[in-house]
Amino acid sequence: MVVTLKEVVNDPQGLVVTDALHALGYPQVQGVRVGKFISLELAEDDLESAEARVEEMCRRLLCNGVIEDYRAKLRLVPDA
């Protein structure tokens, strides 16, 4: 899943990366934000309940609602 800082929270790392890219000669870069990409393997055969679980994990641990948003995409992998 993808966990990103809320729009309202400023992201110095994104700013530095932007500057660095400009310095490297990419003026067309408008704005950069850096978040987390979490890939997670679940042993579940039912997509529904898997989604519910992931939802829950995000709320409880993986994402801090005060500063972050998340979105998760699930994919069914045969005999994972």
């Binding site: 790392q13 530095v16 990366v17 500057d19 660095a20 310095a23």
Partner: protein, 755 residues
């Protein structure tokens, strides 16, 4: 002995991969009485690598004095140990992580710190301090800035996360390190005498435990990797880079320290270069027994790993223990409490053999003698290059590009003389609540709990002349380190050293190695300081070009009375400024050979290295310690890089006070009209710049006379400028701007985005 499943003889390509020569292979086969199989060959290759065997430097290292009244453990264990008195021991060692840091700066530097920490807590000692020795190319190069920033980040990350303060270090920039940055890390630990653990296996039937990280395909051939030139080849060896886990290591550290002193703990050893193979072989050999490992018992991070991969994996954050048979469960429980899993992977056996089995069948069986001591020592030819004309050159001949003031400010603004705060503010230098003097002075000072004395630590490398006169320049490094300790009020008690050199198969580099070790050996003997541990890093070479020889010394000293400690900064307006230990006529020396001024003004290295008089050094260090002990001084600062002018400015800037001195202006007759630059920036050895209350002048003069050490009051503290009467004068503000921006101005102009 029964050959384990024989293989076809290795191709020369395979041997190259293992950094084994044809003749070494033959020697191994002869000693074994058969052809080693692939696994055995891999194990031999790893242990016979320069990194593990020291096959090229060993003979030379024997010259280093390692005896002394305080020495509890010299070279040969994971770290050296000296006695601090009252049953408290100090355990320390320096190690290089140059090659990994060149390839992946953050992780390379971080795992270097992780490795040296394990060497220290493997002995049962609690790490109380880290120091780092860094060498990079020109900071004006963005690539170098990036690498430098990343290495500092990596060192900081690991040390900060594990909670061991990084209290000091050394940093130097020169184009010559453009392709081979040097990253040396030193760790210092404390242990009660009865808690000291040795890395020895004993007692056949006792169990071998592996604890910590799961074993993955990390850094296979890392040991050999560190023993070959860094070049295009490195591309293909990249998997040798690893991601460190300071969190796991912190748990390992605490768990191990809980167990030291347990009568059932027989041996403890870190898994470093060459992983299980080297750590187990070393433990068995030291204990004069054998070991048997059931490779399937080693818990893995990845599927389908072969015995070869398991035995040669260099996965970080792992330790091996030998525990008394029957006590295994107790140990496993203790580790589990820290969230660490710990498996019994083997046992001690009678015969001096290293046996590897997989599901009951033997896959390798090698005599430990062969593994640890069987390698043919290498004695490459050493030949001195033609340098006499360079050494003879007169560094004062050329016309100075700048005025004295201009040169002074440029030196202060150069990353080698300027303020290092940009580095150490990223290091937690206080955790542990014992740091009395952190980074920024001549030496760091830690208190010792419940005692009135303290510990002093410093890292110093050879004078820049090392390329021309390795012997003297290395001795100078030791003299300077001793002065650094003396400045805070400490006497040296032990040395660790890291020898960073190029390809020893080049005669001139072998010569550098011989000379440097000789210089260190002589100086250490003369000054009576034992060398108790160290590390050698060779093949610091890129595309045929080697680094300047870079012997780096780590010294540990004792302050008899912590309350007497001194700083390098001026303390009070009106104090006198004096120069101690200046040979001959006074400060009017013209020793610019290999000086920092020469480097930035002319970009050359020529002229004789500064004179070094070790008996004088010993005397003046004694005198300074006595003066400090009698409470005569307000500050003391070693007069080194950048000479009198830079030293004076540093004491002024650290104290936030100006100063004015008027050295006797009596230029040696023969010296050129440039003698002023020699006076300001000459790097004449043996000197201390001190300050003292006027009321103490007589007493100080008398004391230094007793020690037959030169003492000359040159001026006083105060005013808004830093002045050398009749030669040059700069504003305190001006100087502060130049000095404090030397590194930060360049670095903060290009913050590094990653991680």
């Amino acid at each position: 002995m029964r050959p384990a499943a024989a293989d076809s003889p290795p191709t020369s390509a395979e041997l190259r991969e293992l950094a084994l020569s044809e003749s070494e292979y033959r020697s191994a086969a002869d000693q074994l009485g058969r052809a080693p199989n692939r696994l055995e060959l891999g194990m031999i290759g790893a242990l016979w690598s320069e990194h593990c065997s020291y096959k090229t430097s060993r003979a030379l290292l024997r010259r280093l004095p390692s005896e002394g009244g305080r020495v509890v453990q010299g070279p040969g264990e994971n770290a050296g140990v000296v006695d601090l008195g009252g049953d408290l021991l100090c355990c320390f060692k320096i190690e290089s992580h140059n090659h990994p840091s060149a390839i992946e700066p953050v992780q390379g530097a971080a795992t270097g710190v992780g490795g040296i920490l394990r060497d220290v807590f493997a002995m049962g000692a609690r790490p109380v301090a880290l120091l780092d020795g860094l060498r990079f190319g020109d900071l004006a190069d963005p690539g170098q800035r990036h690498r430098f920033a990343r290495v500092v980040e990596g060192i900081g990350w690991y040390g900060n996360c594990i909670g061991v303060p990084t209290v000091g270090g050394e940093t130097y920039f020169d184009e010559a390190y453009q392709h081979n940055c040097l990253v040396n890390a030193m760790c210092v630990g404390l242990v009660q005498r009865d808690q000291l653990v040795k890395a020895r296996a004993s007692g056949p039937g006792n169990s071998l435990l592996l604890v910590g990280a799961d074993t993955g395909r990390d850094g296979i051939h890392g040991a050999t990797f560190a023993s070959v030139q860094l070049d295009q080849e490195a591309e293909g060896r990249r998997p040798a880079v690893q991601v460190g886990n300071p969190f796991l290591e912190k748990c390992l550290l605490e768990a191990c320290l809980e167990l030291t002193g347990d009568p059932d703990l027989i041996g403890l050893q870190d898994c470093g270069a060459a992983g299980l193979t080297s750590s187990c072989a070393e433990m068995a050999q030291r204990g004069g027994v054998g070991l048997e490992i059931a490779v399937e018992k080693v818990s893995r991070r990845e599927r389908g790993m072969t015995p070869y991969e398991v035995m040669l994996s260099e996965s970080q954050e792992r330790m091996v223990l030998v525990v008394r048979r029957g006590s295994e469960e107790r140990f496993r429980t203790a580790f589990r409490r820290w969230g660490l899993h710990c498996e019994v992977v083997g046992r001690v056996i009678e015969q001096p053999l290293f046996r590897i089995t997989e599901n009951g069948s033997e896959v390798a069986a090698l005599p430990l003698q062969l593994l640890i001591a069987g390698f043919p020592e290498r004695h490459p030819v050493a030949r001195a290059p033609q340098l006499s004309s360079l050494v003879a050159a007169d560094p004062l001949a050329a016309t100075p590009p700048w005025s004295p003031e201009d040169a002074w400010l440029r030196l202060l603004a150069s990353p080698n003389c300027g303020d290092r705060q940009w580095i150490w503010r990223q290091y937690d230098h206080q955790v542990g609540d014992d740091t009395v003097l952190g980074p920024g002075g001549d030496a760091a000072v830690l208190r010792l709990r419940g005692r009135s004395d303290g510990l002093a630590l410093t890292i110093d490398s050879a004078h820049r002349s090392v390329g021309l006169e390795p012997r003297r320049a290395t001795a100078i490094a030791l003299a300077e380190a001793v002065r650094n300790l003396a400045c805070v009020g400490a006497a040296p008690i032990g040395i660790t050293n890291c020898l960073n050199f190029g390809d020893p198969d080049r005669p001139e580099i072998m010569w550098q190695l011989e000379e440097a070790i000789g210089g260190l050996a002589d100086a250490a003997r003369e000054l009576g300081i034992p060398v108790v541990s160290g590390n050698v890093s060779l093949y610091n070479q890129f595309a045929g070009r080697g680094i300047p020889p870079t012997p780096t010394l780590g010294l540990v000293g004792l302050l008899p009375d912590l309350s007497r400690r001194l700083g390098a900064g001026f303390l009070a307006e009106g104090d006198l400024v004096a120069l101690v230990g200046a040979p001959g006529a006074g400060p009017a020396q013209v020793e610019l050979g290999g000086s920092e001024y020469q480097r930035i003004a002319y970009g050359v290295l020529e002229g004789p290295a500064p004179e070094l008089d070790l008996s004088r050094e010993a005397r003046s260090a004694q005198a300074i310690l006595a003066a400090i002990d009698h409470g005569l001084l307000s500050s003391a600062h070693d007069c080194a890089l950048g000479g009198l002018a830079v030293t004076l400015a540093e004491s002024a800037l650290l104290g936030g006070l100006g100063a004015r001195i008027s050295p006797p202006l009596d230029p040696p007759q023969e010296s050129s009209p440039n003698w002023r630059f020699g006076l300001l920036f000459g790097e004449t050895q043996g000197r201390y710049l001190v300050s003292l209350p006027t009321g103490r002048l007589a007493a100080a003069a008398a004391l230094f006379a007793q020690f037959n050490t030169e003492f000359a009051a040159l001026g006083s503290v105060g005013g808004a400028t830093i002045a050398v009467e009749g030669v040059a004068e700069i504003g305190l503000e001006q100087a502060a701007i130049a000095w404090s921006g030397a590194i930060s101005a360049q670095m903060d102009s290009s913050p590094s985005p990653q991680r």
